[in-house]
């Protein structure tokens, strides 16, 4: 994409019928670190890659609980994502207070999309620079949606957004037919595998990823690091031979790869803006 004379304003069309500012906002999503989601009939799992800027800092929060039955994973401008999460939480609380019933996720997603659309049609605003994977339950079961900065939303069986998400998407495309009837644990395993794809050779550890689950009879919650590490070990999906500094009792499947060794091999990821 190159600079052109139609891309200054979000309210300026190009002769080809494009709104470049909106498309640039979608680019911002691609720069954020990866987030993936997949669902079965009864559960949805969200996962994301969490890279801290330096060893001294903590990593950014990219998965938010919106209500007991809805959660969201974001990629892109995390500040925009936080603001939208606050909006979603507010809508859920208001609906719950008035009707004493959970807000159906399909309706929340439409409200979110309409909110994003407003920013594509006001000259004094800019589009939100964040993509949201919304996971939630309603009367008709488990749902996973993707909300774009453009104001569009789509429903998915499984999806990945952010940098190097194509690798995860390829993995998910191979496996998605099994997801509908998969068990909750298998779904988490597939999520971890998909995250591993985006790491491209790096070791999958619970310190670089976050997993959250919501399902029928299971309120939305983020799995704690210990549980995630156990699952990584149990499914033997660590790609690399672990060095002697690894945590005790870790089983590594031997899949030697050249290039980055364990431990110090974490390169600095593209900035989570």
């Amino acid at each position: 994409m190159f600079r052109n004379q139609y891309d200054t304003d979000v309210t300026t069309w190009s002769p080809a019928g494009r709104l470049f500012q909106v498309e640039y906002a979608m680019e911002a999503v691609k720069q954020g670190s990866a987030a993936i989601g997949l669902r079965s009939k009864t559960h949805i799992v969200l996962g994301c890659v969490n890279k801290a800027n330096s060893e001294l800092s903590s990593h950014q929060k990219k998965i938010f609980k919106v209500d007991d039955h809805i959660g969201v994973a974001i990629a892109g401008l995390t500040a925009d994502g936080r603001v939208l999460s606050r909006y979603m939480r507010n809508e859920c609380i208001n609906y719950g207070f008035t009707y004493e019933s959970p807000l159906p996720v399909g309706r929340l997603v439409v409200q979110l999309a309409d909110k994003a659309q407003v920013c594509t049609q006001r000259s004094w605003k800019r589009p939100y620079g964040v993509g949201l994977l919304v996971a939630g339950l309603d009367e008709s079961g488990a749902h996973l949606y993707y909300n774009c900065p453009s104001g569009n939303y789509f429903e998915y069986q499984a999806f990945a957004i952010g940098s190097r998400s194509q690798a995860a998407k390829t993995y998910l495309e191979r496996k998605f037919e099994n997801f509908t009837d998969a068990s909750r644990d298998d779904l988490v395993k597939d999520a971890l595998m998909a995250i591993r794809e985006t790491l491209q050779g790096e070791t999958l550890k619970s310190s670089v990823c976050t997993i959250a689950v919501v399902g029928v009879g299971e309120p939305f919650h983020i799995l704690d690091q210990g549980t995630v590490q156990q699952m990584i070990d149990a499914f033997e999906i660590v790609g690399e031979q672990e060095g002697p500094d690894a945590a005790a009792g870790q089983e590594a499947s031997a899949e030697p790869e050249q290039g980055a060794g364990a431990g110090a091999g974490e390169g600095v990821a593209p900035m989570d803006i």
Binding site: F97, T98, Y99, S101, R107, D138, E139
Partner: protein, 245 residues
Amino acid sequence: MDFMASKQPENSLLGPEADSQRTLYPYVTGTSVVALKYKDGILMAADMGGSYGSTLRYKNVERMKAIGKHSLLGASGEISDFQEILRYLDDLILYDNMWDDGNSLGPKEVHNYLTRVMYNRRNKFNPLWNSLVLGGIKNGQKYLGTVSMIGVNFEDDHVATGFGNHLARPILRQEWHENLSFEDGVKLLEKCMRVLLYRDRSAINKLQIAKITEEGMTISQPYSLKTYWEFSAFENPTQGAVGSW
């Protein structure tokens, strides 16, 4: 000392002029509504009278209406406020249907919505002068609740408004049980309505019974209850009363 007196702008809500903006007393009122849960859903009964003070002015008032696919609303109190509530609910159900997404508001949601409306109006000192009964069934779950004009709400297996609370509820407490058949439910409701007819002077002998099940809502044609006035106590009622005539 006129310069000291505070001047109200014409549209203020303080002062005597403002009272025309809020409900102070009801004018045309309906009397008790009685409802109970039975095997397949909810049964509700109400007479068709609209009283204007002590005059039984209107005798064809339907005080029970279906709300959406899953709920049934009965009201006692000010009839015009009931019609206003029906208008609010119409908008609510329309908005819900327009989503066209497989989700729909069930009786619990409608009941809570009404509670919020009634309580908010009470807080503004401008109540909707009604006692409402909201019953329904959705996905096999039966629901029956009530809201008063001050926003008090609760659910139960059987509810009533007004005089029904004093005359009908005791009967229901004795004789209601889980999984009543339709015929037994109707018999029980008729027993309650008969007592109300004898003892509530704003009741008339023209009632309807409505039922709501998974299939939907049906409401009976108006009919009358048989009454018996030949009790010997009613002949020469003042027989033993000294000084009476």
